[in-house]
């Protein structure tokens, strides 16, 4: 597992993090934003339950988010 960014930011002067790295592919990050917003803002499952499962998933997969 790398501890340093493997792909630089696509935004000059901005640090490499999820959004700035994904900005190398503007259409993909835009569609991802549409999908993620739909997932979080709509549906029958509360945001609290979604967030709880997100955190659990992140822990299981050893993700820092």
């Amino acid at each position: 597992m790398s501890t340093t960014p493997r792909i630089g930011s696509a935004i000059p002067g901005a640090p490499a993090e999820f959004g700035t790295v994904m900005s190398h592919t503007p259409d993909i990050i835009a569609k991802f934003g549409d999908l993620y917003a739909e997932f979080w803002q709509q549906g029958l499952i509360s945001q609290e339950v979604k967030e709880m499962t997100r955190i659990r998933n992140a822990r299981i997969t050893d993700c820092g988010y």
Binding site: S2, I7, G8, A10, V21, I28, L35
Partner: protein, 158 residues
């Protein structure tokens, strides 16, 4: 030429289907998402955006999608039976160098994602550029997601 290394995984691929990525002709989680039409539409648009990358040849996506499906023991789509057999045997030297860089990452994404090495990502960047690398790694992650959703929603498991 073989670069990188694989950890052998016992997998079983299923051949003979030409279903599309989105499974519009049956049997994948995308059908279940019809219960949430907006989510279905946006998921499909996202997947389409990933595979519309100019930086990565469509064949690379097809090979990687097929290999990840094999690892999950799910139906292999969009490649020939011969290509599927070669993928299953993990004979990387049968593929172009750029394809090899992508397949090395595809091999690790489902269950060994923390073992993807810096130099393996560098090889992908050399082959496809930064934007191509982002497109490819995003594609691999969501090919894996799609297989997991298939297994969860349709019961398609090895």
């Amino acid at each position: 030429m073989v670069i990188g290394h694989f950890t052998a995984i016992d997998t079983q691929g299923y051949l003979g289907s030409n279903l599309s990525l989105l499974g519009t002709d049956g049997g994948t989680f995308i059908e279940a998402l019809a219960l949430r039409p907006a989510l279905q539409t946006k998921y499909a648009a996202f997947l389409d955006a990933i595979e519309s990358s100019d930086a990565v040849p469509e064949r690379v996506f097809r090979l990687c999608r097929a290999r990840i499906a094999q690892i999950h023991g799910q139906q292999v789509r969009g490649i020939s039976a011969e290509e599927a057999t070669t993928l299953q045997s993990q004979r990387l030297d049968a593929f172009e160098l750029s394809e090899q860089t992508a397949l090395i990452a595809a091999e690790k994404i489902p269950y060994q994602h923390h073992f993807l090495e810096d130099e393996e990502v560098e090889a992908i960047k050399r082959a496809f550029g930064d934007a191509g690398c982002v497109s490819l790694l995003t594609a691999l992650a969501f090919f894996d997601v799609s297989c997991r959703l298939n297994a969860t929603m349709t019961g398609e498991v090895s």
